[in-house]
């Protein structure tokens, strides 16, 4: 049982991603297994969020080369790049957004019931029954209690008028309900105060536990407090230049990226060039 679960793998190989005619990812290799926690760190603009979007299938991010493969418990290999975002969700991939979108007029509970039904019943046809209301409500209530969320939250419109902290907790709630196999958390700590980060960190640990493969994109080590990474990856200039254990995250948090930049001059040059391009583009400001 355990061995079959451990084999579930998300494998990213030589991934190149462009937005418009700007190449942002320049050959990313990353493999993670269900049950592992990975930290992805790197300076601003190094391509971390782009990796999250590309894995989830954002239509604005063109994969020009490479592959993303999901190996199931049965050992089947799925080509993730051929899937629409909703199909990716249904095979167990989840992205917690750095800036979640608001959907005015749509209640959290309604949205979550739809999403949860679709993800848990991948064969459901549109218009077919949703998860039974009673069971769904019960589960949602329990998860919200676990995350110390006000029950009123379920009645609010999705991310509409949410504070930064509420948005991030709503993302974690969604993760809790959808129970993905692989979750990418894109700067779930950004914009939160210390206590909120601690709460988020704790919640991720409680919910993810050993069940999920978690990739935490972060600048800080606070989010890692309760989620000690098995692996730490450093991204620079659109590729992963170094992988280590939890001590690498601690080092980067303490000393910054100077050592990395001097040790990987090619990637550092790419990073500088990418930053230059970004400045030229008027929309980037």
């Amino acid at each position: 049982m355990i061995s079959s679960t451990q084999r579930e793998t998300l494998r990213i190989n030589d991934l190149h991603v462009s937005v418009g005619d700007r190449e942002i990812l320049r050959g990313v290799n990353l493999t993670f297994h269900r049950g592992e926690t990975h930290a992805l760190m790197g300076p601003n603009g190094s391509g971390k969020s782009t990796l999250g979007y590309a894995i989830m299938g954002h239509p604005g991010y063109d994969v020009t080369r490479g592959s993303i493969e999901l190996v199931t418990a049965e050992g089947q290999s799925l080509n993730v790049l051929e899937m629409e975002p909703n199909e990716r969700a249904r095979v167990g991939i989840f992205l917690a957004f750095q800036r979640p979108m608001s959907i005015p007029g749509v209640k959290m509970a309604d949205f979550l019931r739809h999403a949860t039904t679709n993800v848990r019943r991948p064969d459901r046809k549109e218009g077919e029954e949703l998860l039974p209301m009673r069971d769904f409500r019960k589960e949602l209530k329990a998860k919200m209690e676990q995350l110390r969320m006000d029950p009123e939250f379920a009645r609010r419109y999705v991310n509409d008028g949410f504070s930064g902290g509420e948005m991030k907790r709503a993302e974690i709630l969604q993760m809790a309900m959808l129970r993905p196999k692989f979750a990418i958390l894109d700067e779930t700590d950004s914009g939160l105060d210390v206590d909120a980060v601690r709460l988020a960190s704790q919640s991720i640990a409680e919910i993810g536990g050993a069940e999920m493969g978690i990739l935490i994109i972060t600048h800080h080590d606070k989010l890692l407090e309760h989620n000690r990474p098995d692996f730490t990856h450093v991204m620079l200039g659109g590729r992963i230049v170094e992988t280590g254990g939890p001590e690498l995250a601690e080092e980067l948090h303490r000393s910054g990226y100077d050592r990395i930049r001097s040790q990987y001059p090619d990637a550092a040059a790419d990073e500088a060039a990418m930053r230059q391009e970004k400045h030229v583009e008027p929309a980037a400001g």
Partner: protein, 471 residues
């Protein structure tokens, strides 16, 4: 309970709504020849055995109709008035039980779910098929309290004093070309009188069905809500799809007396070849409240601007309108509020959605007359455009002849964003489900004002409209 969720079944709605497009063979008691002239008007009046004053009123209205030019604003009206049947009588009497209604017509309303809804949550029903009301009911306790709910033809015979006092006083035939047309050839519609202090808890519903091709339906509704009384009236409308256009041109007049309340809800889902050119107007007296909730989903062209004239202090008018225009449709909908007394207030909320080449327009008038001090009006109109072929326009008119007033106007136009769609699809929703969810959210502030059964119905209709939107 932590959550409050919408029901996702259509248990109480108006029936199998994706089955609107069916038609019955034409078996009529009487069908006028095509075209419009004095002879046709006489024929209608003869069939109804009307008093002379009504016949004279019709003939005079016909002259007004002929003398008035077509409106030069709004949408393109391409109607050959001589190519329409103005009067079709489907059965020889109005049923008081559904068993008295001819079989094929009864089956029609069964399919539309009316008898079912009647059993579950309505206080009374009128079902109009072509030109005549073929079924009518009113809960006994209400009729005992003096509530009148009948078709307008019967009202002319049975309540001549009430009818003569109010009929065409709010909307005279001179008001506009289509009001004149209705006045000349009107048939059917609801007549309601709610006596002083009577509060009707459950809605009264009318359902208008056009079955014949090239048909003109011209119902005439008159509602009088006496002092302190309350009513919620709901109308639904459907028709099968033909290759030629049909015309629906109603006149609705409402009098809301001191401290009374009236809510009038329309869920219009006409086939996409119907011209829906309707005049609706209410007058509200001291502290009275008039609310129009106007859902326009069907028709080829709708031109409809429900109005509230606030004639005495404290009167309030609210108009909530939803318009959905898809391929080949133009919804020119809006609202009109006239503040003719001090301390009156009004609110207009309009939400329009355009997709697949559809066009929706908000056209509204806020008028504050001299002396209407301390009046308040607030207008919010939001448009959502689903693709680049579709169009949305806003024509807000504000006329203020008084200094001491407060007027607000906000308008917004938005498109469904790629980022919103991506967010929802990343949670397992298909693009179509995601778009539908965004649209439902967009109209939610209005749908939540509806009784649950109609909210469910409205959401179902939106889902139907959204089908096939993406991919």
């Amino acid at each position: 309970m932590a959550t409050e969720l919408k029901p996702d079944t259509n248990e109480l709605g108006l029936g199998e709504i994706n089955k609107y497009d069916f038609r019955n063979a034409e078996k009529y008691i009487f069908k006028s020849r095509k075209g419009l002239d004095a002879q046709i008007v006489h024929q209608i009046s003869d069939m109804k055995d009307e008093p002379q004053w009504m016949r004279d009123f019709r003939l005079q209205s016909l002259e007004i109709f002929n003398s008035k030019p077509m409106p030069r604003w709004g949408g393109n009206i391409d109607i050959d008035f001589q190519d329409i049947f103005y009067y079709i009588k489907p059965s020889d009497r109005q049923g008081r039980s559904w068993d008295d209604v001819p079989d094929d017509i009864k089956r029609t309303f069964d399919k539309l779910g009316i008898p079912e809804a009647e059993k579950k949550f309505l206080a009374g029903v009128k079902a109009q098929y072509e030109s005549e009301v073929v079924y009518g009911s009113l809960r006994e306790d209400l009729s005992k309290q003096g509530v009148i709910f009948t078709d307008t033809d019967s009202a002319v015979r049975e309540y001549p004093d009430l009818v003569r006092e109010y009929f065409s006083k709010i909307i005279p035939p001179t008001d506009n070309k289509f009001a004149a047309l209705n006045s000349a050839v009107w048939s059917g519609g609801s007549f309601i009188y709610v006596p002083k202090g009577v509060k009707i808890e459950f809605p009264l519903q009318a359902y208008f069905r056009i079955n014949a091709e090239s048909m003109g339906q011209f119902e005439r509704t008159l509602i009088i809500v006496d002092e302190g009384a309350q009513i919620h009236y709901v109308e639904g409308c459907t028709a099968p799809m033909y290759s030629t256009e049909s015309l629906h041109s109603a006149v609705v007049e409402i009098i809301v007396k001191k401290h009374a309340r009236c809510r009038y809800t329309t869920i219009q889902n006409w086939a996409n070849n119907i011209y829906n050119l309707v005049t609706k107007r209410a007058v509200a007296y001291e502290n009275a409240v008039m609310e129009w909730i106007d859902g326009n989903l069907g028709s080829r062209l709708t031109m409809k601007y429900p109005a509230v004239y606030m004639l005495e202090p404290g009167a309030r008018g609210e108009i909530l309108s939803i318009a959905f225009a898809s391929n080949g449709q133009h919804q020119d909908a809006g609202a009109k509020v006239v503040h003719a007394a001090p301390h009156t207030s009004s609110r207009i909320i309009s939400k329009s959605i355009s997709k697949n080449g559809g066009r929706s327009s908000y056209r509204g008038l806020v008028k504050i007359e001299p002396g209407a001090r301390k009046s308040k009006s607030n207008v919010v109109c939001d448009a959502l455009i689903l693709d680049s072929n579709s169009r949305s326009d806003t024509y807000p008119y504000i006329e203020v002849d008084e200094q001491d007033v407060s007027i607000g106007h906000e308008a917004s136009v938005s498109k469904i964003g790629e980022e919103q769609l991506f967010y929802l699809t990343s949670r397992g929703l298909s693009e179509a489900e995601a778009s539908t969810m965004i649209v439902s959210g967009f109209i939610e502030p209005l749908v939540k004002e509806l009784p649950m059964e109609y909210a469910v119905e409205m959401n179902r209709l939106i889902e139907l409209q959204m089908e096939g939107t993406v991919g």
